[in-house]
Each structure stands twice: as structure tokens, then as C-alpha cells.
């Protein structure tokens, strides 16, 4: 459908991804070497951040880890959540699992992250797991609700009588029917997770607060928003571009699917 959205989406997604991948090769030192919050100039084309680091170098080197970490958490929560929701959705609808997930949803996520930090589980892997777990209940609920109507179709009955394993029916057919809402959810959850990861850094979890990650940079340079806007706007812009690009491409993919 309509090429402009693909072009726009690809550009918006492509720029940050390209920077994330190739940036680290081009980036200069991300040590603090100069006065903080310098405006753009000859030495520092994008100025310096609150730690006196080169914003350009930071922007170039800070994509990979945040993109990987966000991708990992999101992927994990959907890889677990979608099957869980589809396989549970029409079987024990009021079952134990859903109640357990509701309980998880009712737990304050902040507290969980703080305890993790305090207990010394601070690694990136823990963080990705924790964030995926915190997203899980919402993902399951959404997928479950999207799967309700398709799960009642005669096609499901027919496949059941064919002897198709139930998990295959639900993962395959019902899942496909529910794909739209799921992808849309993933698209919007992306930015949620991005900033959740960043704020977790400031609880002492995951990446170091001095890391050059885009999301961390945004948080780190918060107070400099008006003094050296580029220190916030450049990384934030890359993140926004990433999110917008992904969402536009998802839209396009979904529209394509419906057309065939």
C-alpha cells in the first residue's frame, strides 16, 4: 500500500538503526574531555553533555546496547506472552494463570526493580528479564482479548475435528487473526520499555548511568534541556525516529497482509 509510508518508515527506522550499527566504528572518545554543556562548535559539532562528553560521539556509540536490550525485553515478553495468551485464552479463561498474571500486574513495578537493585542483581540480563516479566501480564491480557472472537469461529472447530493440535490452531490461526492488535501493542510498548530501561539505570540496574546509551543520555541530560538542548534532543530524536519508523512499517505490513 501507498509507498510513501514505507519510504518514510524505512528512513525513520533506518537512520537510528544504521547509527546504532555503524556508529560505534565512527565514534570518537566518549570520555569527558571538555567543559560540560558547551554549545555546538568546531571541536564538538553537537556540543557536549553534562559530563563534558562529545554529544556526537555519544549519539554514534549509544544505539547498539539500548536497541539490543529493548529488543530483547520486548521479544522475550511477546515470545512468552503471545503463546501463553493464545493457549490459555479459550481454555481456562478464568484460570489460575490469568489470576497470577493479574497479581503480577498489581505489583508495583518500581518496587520490584528497586529490590532487584538492592539485592545486587544488576546485570543487563536480569534487567531485560525483569522488564519482560513486568510487561508480560499486559501483553497476555491484550492478546487474550484480541483472540477471544477468532477463538469462537467455526474454522477453529473444523480444525479441531481435523485433529489439528490445539496449540497449533491457537498459535497459527487464532494468533494470525489477533496479529493486528498484537503488533500495534508491540509498537507502542516499544517506547514504554525504552524509557523504563533508562529509568532503571538510575535505580542502579542494567547499564551504568555513565553509559552512552541514548535513553540513558536523555535521562542524564534532563536538566540541561534548555542549556544544551542537543544533548537531549539528539538521542531523544533518534529514539523517536526509531519508534515512529517501526510503527509506520508495522502499519504498512498489516495493511499489506489484509490486502492479499
Amino acid at each position: 500500500m501507498k509507498r510513501p509510508s514505507v519510504v518514510l518508515g524505512s528512513v525513520l527506522l533506518g537512520v537510528p538503526v544504521l547509527i546504532a550499527l555503524a556508529g560505534p566504528l565512527l565514534a570518537g572518545s566518549v570520555q569527558s574531555a571538555a567543559a560540560p554543556l558547551q554549545p555546538p562548535g568546531a571541536d564538538f559539532p553537537l556540543g557536549t553533555d553534562v559530563l563534558g562528553r562529545d554529544v556526537l560521539a555519544l549519539a554514534l556509540s549509544g544505539g547498539a546496547s539500548i536497541v539490543a536490550l529493548t529488543g530483547a525485553s520486548l521479544l522475550l515478553s511477546y515470545l512468552v506472552g503471545v503463546p501463553l495468551a493464545l493457549l490459555v485464552a479459550n481454555r481456562w479463561a478464568d484460570g489460575v494463570l490469568v489470576r497470577v498474571l493479574d497479581f503480577l500486574l498489581a505489583l508495583p513495578g518500581l518496587l520490584v526493580l528497586m529490590v532487584l537493585a538492592a539485592a545486587g542483581w544488576r546485570g543487563a540480563v536480569t534487567l531485560a528479564l525483569a522488564i519482560a516479566l513486568l510487561q508480560l501480564p499486559a501483553v497476555v491480557r491484550l492478546v487474550r482479548s484480541a483472540a477471544l472472537a477468532p477463538g469462537c469461529r467455526a474454522a477453529v472447530e473444523a480444525m479441531t475435528m481435523q485433529g489439528e493440535p490445539w496449540w497449533r490452531i491457537h498459535l497459527g490461526y487464532v494468533g494470525r487473526c489477533a496479529l493486528g492488535p498484537v503488533l500495534v501493542d508491540a509498537g507502542t510498548r516499544l517506547s514504554l520499555v525504552l524509557y523504563l530501561l533508562a529509568s532503571a539505570n538510575f535505580l542502579g540496574l542494567g547499564l551504568a548511568p555513565s553509559a552512552s546509551d541514548w535513553a540513558v543520555l536523555v535521562e542524564r541530560n534532563k536538566e540541561a534541556l534548555f542549556l544544551q538542548p542537543l544533548a537531549v534532543l539528539v538521542p531523544a530524536g533518534l529514539l523517536v525516529s526509531l519508534c515512529t519508523g517501526i510503527n509506520l512499517l508495522l502499519d504498512h505490513a498489516l495493511a499489506r497482509r489484509d490486502e492479499v
Binding site: A149, R153, A154, A155, E157, A158, M159, T160, M161, Q162, G163, E164, W166, Y173, R176
Partner: protein, 508 residues
Amino acid sequence: MNAPLLSARGLRAFVGTRSLLAEVDVELRPGEVTAVLGESGSGKTTLGLALQGESRRGVALAGTVELRGTDLIGVPAAQRRAARAGVIGYLPQHPAAALNPLRKVGRVMAELARAPEAIPEALEAARFDAALLDRYPHQLSGGQQQRAVLAQAVLNRPDVLVLDEPATGLDAITKSEAVEALSRMSGRGTAILLLTHDLGLVRRTADTVLVLHDGRIVERGQHVLTAPTHEHTRALLAAEPRPPAAADTEPAEGGLRASGLSKVAKNGDRLLDGIDLAVPPGRCVAVVGRSGSGKTTLARCLAGLTRPSAGRVLLDGVALAADVRHRGRRTQVQYIHQDARASFDEFRPVLAQIARTARLTRGVSTAQARTEAEQVLASVGLERAQADRRPAALSGGQLQRAAVARALLAEPAVIICDEITTGQDLIHRAELLDLLAATLRTTSAGMVLISHDLGAVAALADEVHVLDAGRCVEHAPTAALLARPRTAVARSLVDSADLARGRTEEPG
């Protein structure tokens, strides 16, 4: 002769380079009933839609369709819909899909009605029970859904009515009543286009008949039924089910047995009440009854798709779980849905879906499964090229046959057919019945045949159960029942059926 209300010239429909309709000219005149006959897949539904300027996804239209001075094909969708709103009433072939699952039918009816008084009149014309207005579509039987949509179609007294297989869900009694209603409407000046296989219906209502073959009109006029000239027309009118296979063997032991099946709906209605039924291997048991009498509910209980409130189902003496998902071998009892289209996965090609049966039941390789599927499909008259399309690109009758093929491929112990001949022309109907008869003979499968088509019942069934309001009111060998129905329901069903006349009456 009065001026046509709607006239189509050079109407063409195509998918890519494939032509579904070629150079069709049709005129619909006030007070005239035009019937379109044609074998399954000949393009009737495509024509019905095209005459309203609509088409299924992927299908392109060309030519002109003029309705009160507007060319429905040349104008944008919004304008087209404005032009035809209230002027054309349409009953699609699959009425279930036309009903919003979230809305009670009465509510929608009220929305659509230009004047509230129109509703009772439309309900009367469509023979739709006003008590059902407060129901969601899924709470209606197949026939009731069809009549609900029919009622919507006639609601605002449209000038033109396009009815795609209007009689499929109707029992014989209701059908005769509907025929009268149609006649009344055409008497009032409505132009009616009937797209149907039902010769009885055509005979009783049509003023003029078109015969469609491969998207072309091969013959038209008032003479078609009486003196067909085209050989295809003749073939179409002449096909006959074979005489019933004599049930000379003693019924074998075992088979499917249901006892005391009852079902109470969530709203408290009794849909089934203490049904007992036995289907010995190799035997065919027919279930007949008026629309809404509980036939589908019974079939679904047997198949484990609806959980009965009481009673149980045994297969070869072993109790089957109430839920098919908990049954040991889920393929043992196959149910062919009344709405065949809804029973297919809309995303995958039909062939692939059908082949899964063989793969799953017998563990054959994917390629082997495809070959087997192609064979069965061929035996119901579906080519590979057709079956390789997604369900949306197949005609109603084609899908019905595909569903039968899917069930047969499972080599089940019991096969339950819910109105499988409604979408078929006589040729395909005969083919289908032959295939089922052969299955009964060659395998030990038992069969439950649900049908309003007493001809089919006569051709296949060994015995017949007559349902009325969820109870089995009569139960007798087929011949006995058709010859000497004992209860009033059975009698009126048999009497109204144009069993003898509709199908076998010789031209002339």
C-alpha cells in the same frame, strides 16, 4: 413492457486475466422475477454483486449497470451506495456473515427501517419470528439467520431485490410461504433477481430465466425450464440422484449412539429434549425438521462442539467426551458445518487446509497428503487450481464441496452432514450424493444427514428422525416416513416438499 429499473450492459468481472463474468446483459423490470440458474461456480454470486456495483475483494468490474440513471460501476463507492440505498435489497448467499455478531438482529432492523411500521411487514414477508428479534445472530439457526437478513432486505420495500440462494436454509413449509411472499412483492411492482439452484423455486416464481455457464449467459427466456435449447441447460435440469441404495444388510453392531441428549441454552430455552439416536456403521440416518427445530444443535452435540446439558454420546459402546477437544481421536466424528465458508481458515489456500486432514489422521507426508486431497476434491468436482485459492475466492457451493472432501479425507467413523446440498446445482448434488452413497457402501462409516432436501434424504437415508422444537416427534425408515408420515409436522414437511414434482417433473 415497462422500462427496466436496472439494466446491465456488457458487464464483466475478472480477477487478473481470468474472467468470472463475460459480457453479461441483464435487465430487471418492475414486477418481474428474473431467475439466474447455473451450476455451482458459474458466477451467480458474482453477477448478483456486480449488478449492485459491488464485487468481492480482488475482483474487478467493467461495463455499465444503470440504476435510475446512475451508472453504479463508474461512480465512487459513497455515491454508488447512496444511489442504491433503499432501492436495492440484497440477500447474500452467506447470511451469517452479513449479521453483526455484536448486535441483536432486532436492533439492526430498527436502525435500517425507514419507518417502524415496516418491520412487522418485513418480518411477515420473510417469515421471521418476531420473538427472535431480541437475539444475537449466534443464537439463531441457519435458516433463522437467513430469514433475518431477508427481512432486512425487504424492509424498506426496495424497487429491486437481489436474492442469492434465498431458500437454502428454509424447510419446505417455510419455503412455500416465502414463495407466496415473493409473489406478493413482485405483484406490488418489485423487480426480483433470484440467484438459485432451486428449480422448484424458479418454476414457481420466475417470469424469465437466465442460464449462466462459466460466466456467460448461454440461454435466456421464459422457455428455459420447459424447453431448454442449450445442452448445458439440459444437463443442469436433468441430473438426478440415483435411487436409494437398498438397505438390505442387517445393521452391524456398534456405531454412534446418543441417548437422552438435551440442551438448555444460556437463556433458558430448551433446544434439545431427550433425543435418542443410533447410527450403525454403514447406515445413514437423516434428521429433518423445520428450520429452528434443533437439527444443528443435535449435530453439534454429537460432534462434541456443543456441550449437551444431559445425555451422552457413545461410539462403539465407548462414551465420547462431551467436548471434542477431550476426545481421544478427534477425527472419528466429522461434522460438516452448515455454513461451510465460515469453517475454513480465511488465510490459507483451501487445498492446503484439506490436505492437513490426511496428514494429521494418517501421518502421510505433506506431498502425499496433497495428492490425496486433490483426489477427493476431484471426486466432488473441484479442480486443483480452484482449491489452491483462499476460501474467499471460491463460490459457496465450491466451499461446501470442499468441506465435504475435508471430512471424507479423515475417514471417520461417523460423518455428520449439515445441509450440504443447499449450494449445489443438480449435477453437483447428484455427484455429491453418489459419493456419499459410495462412502456408505465401501467404508463402515455411519452418517447423519441433516437436510431440508427430502430428495437427498430419500436418496441416502435408511431412516429418518423428525425433530420439532428440540424433540424427536417421529422416527421411521425412510420409505415408510415419506410414504406415510404420522405426525402433523412430518406430514406437512413431506407434503410441501416438491419432492416428486420439483426435481423429476419432465420438461413440458
